[in-house]
């Protein structure tokens, strides 16, 4: 299982909604912590077809971000398989590309008007030549915002499949990242008898990924 990790604190992107202007800012590596397990895995990976797959997988997000910034849900949904599942941060389950397009367009016309998305951290893991898992942190920027607000930082998992040479998303599942004080209670009202702050994940640049 090849594991590759791509982490960016600030991403070049982003098209400011509607205006089509593209800002380019240099990608900066995340903080000091370099996970040893992933670099080991990466070092094993020969520069082969896997590299072009990884590039294609990263490009999916860029296509989505551009479509998002234009408020174009049809383009946004075109990177999903026809039978894809999408679970958004509200726990809405959207099944199939048409439903995704319709629902996202509804949001683009309303709550998500004039917004764009910013990628904070991304880990792409090829689990077979035709399947990848992408775990990503990103957020929605409103208007002229340049940085993520803590209350709309989210973490999402995408399952990508390669069909006829093209990578598409067959599953996207998103969860808002809660502030630590709320994260103490993953489910309702159960107060822990004891709680220790979650340790920094070994091998993960967790502390550096939240703006």
């Amino acid at each position: 299982m090849d594991i590759r990790r791509y982490t960016r604190r600030t991403i070049r992107l982003a098209v400011v909604g509607g205006l089509g202007a593209t800002l380019m800012t240099g990608p900066r590596p995340v903080g000091a912590s370099t996970p040893s397990h992933t670099t080991t895995a990466a070092a094993r990976t020969p520069a082969t077809a896997a590299d072009s797959d990884l590039a294609a997988l990263r490009h999916i997000w860029e296509r989505q971000a551009e479509a998002w910034a234009r408020g174009d849900a049809l383009a946004y949904s075109s990177i999903y398989t026809p039978d894809a599942d999408l679970v958004n941060i509200k726990g809405e389950h959207l099944h199939n590309r048409h439903v995704i397009a319709a629902r996202i367009q509804h949001y683009f016309n309303g709550d998500l008007k004039n917004t764009h998305i910013l990628r904070i951290d991304e880990r792409v893991r090829l689990i077979s030549p035709t399947m990848a898992i992408i775990v990503r942190k990103d957020c929605v920027l409103y208007g002229a915002e340049k940085a993520c607000r803590p209350d709309n930082l989210s973490i999402n998992t995408s399952v990508a499949v390669k069909d006829a040479g093209q990578w598409l998303i067959t599953s996207f599942h998103n969860t808002l990242v809660q502030a630590l004080d709320q994260a103490h209670r993953p489910f309702r009202g159960i107060v822990p008898a004891t709680w220790e702050q979650p340790p920094t994940l070994s091998g993960e640049a967790a502390s550096g990924s939240t703006p």
């Binding site: 039978d83 689990i127 399947m131 998992t157 499949v161 067959t170 994260a183 489910f187 159960i190 008898a193």
Partner: protein, 183 residues
């Protein structure tokens, strides 16, 4: 795309870990998830009578998780994940590796998830390949003597399950609470 839908909820299942009791029914079926154009056989690994060995194994894997959860055994729960698994819980916490999942759950199951068990309301399983299964599931957590899902614990989760060395293990799990329609 070679994707076959093996199952589509709602499934009224269920399993009560630890004690080994099985409850059936009484669980509110989830709202229709949206238009689904695919025809799918009414078959699920959660349903008794499944003969497909992989679907049976996937059901057994979930039962192992539920039993480990119910008896508060976080390490056994973590052992149902691959060594390189990714796990995102409802608070957006990302846990990497099966071992770390076990360590974290050992703590959670003794604290905020003490005396609880997991319930599946509905699920859909797709075999993406002979060694890769994709499962999207709606479920909840019962605390103590609860017998119906509280809205605050009802969630959708997506699992990618891989078969290696003849054994199915969860490679990726991502969970999101279902929030009320009006935020």
């Amino acid at each position: 795309m070679g994707i076959h839908t093996y199952a589509r909820g709602p499934i009224r299942l269920v399993l009560m870990g630890g004690l080994g009791l099985a409850l059936t029914g009484a669980v509110t079926p989830a709202q229709a998830a949206t238009g689904d154009g695919r025809a799918a056989p009414a078959l699920s690994p959660m349903m008794p009578g499944t003969t497909d060995p992989d679907l049976t194994a996937l059901a057994q894997l979930w039962h192992r998780q539920a039993e480990a959860w119910a008896r508060g055994d976080g390490h056994a729960y973590g052992a149902t994940y691959t060594p390189d698994a990714d796990f995102v819980n409802v608070t957006g916490e990302h846990i990497h590796t099966g071992r770390e999942i076990g360590v974290r759950f050992q703590r959670y199951l003794g604290a905020q998830l003490k005396d609880s068990r997991i319930i599946t309301l509905e699920e859909k399983v797709q075999m993406l390949s002979p060694t890769l299964a994709y499962i999207i599931r709606k479920g909840c957590v019962f605390f103590r003597k609860e017998t119906s899902c509280h809205p605050n614990t009802t969630s959708w989760n997506t699992s990618l399950v891989v078969k290696t060395g003849g054994q199915w293990l969860v490679r990726s799990f991502h969970n999101t609470l279902v929030k009320p329609p009006q935020k």
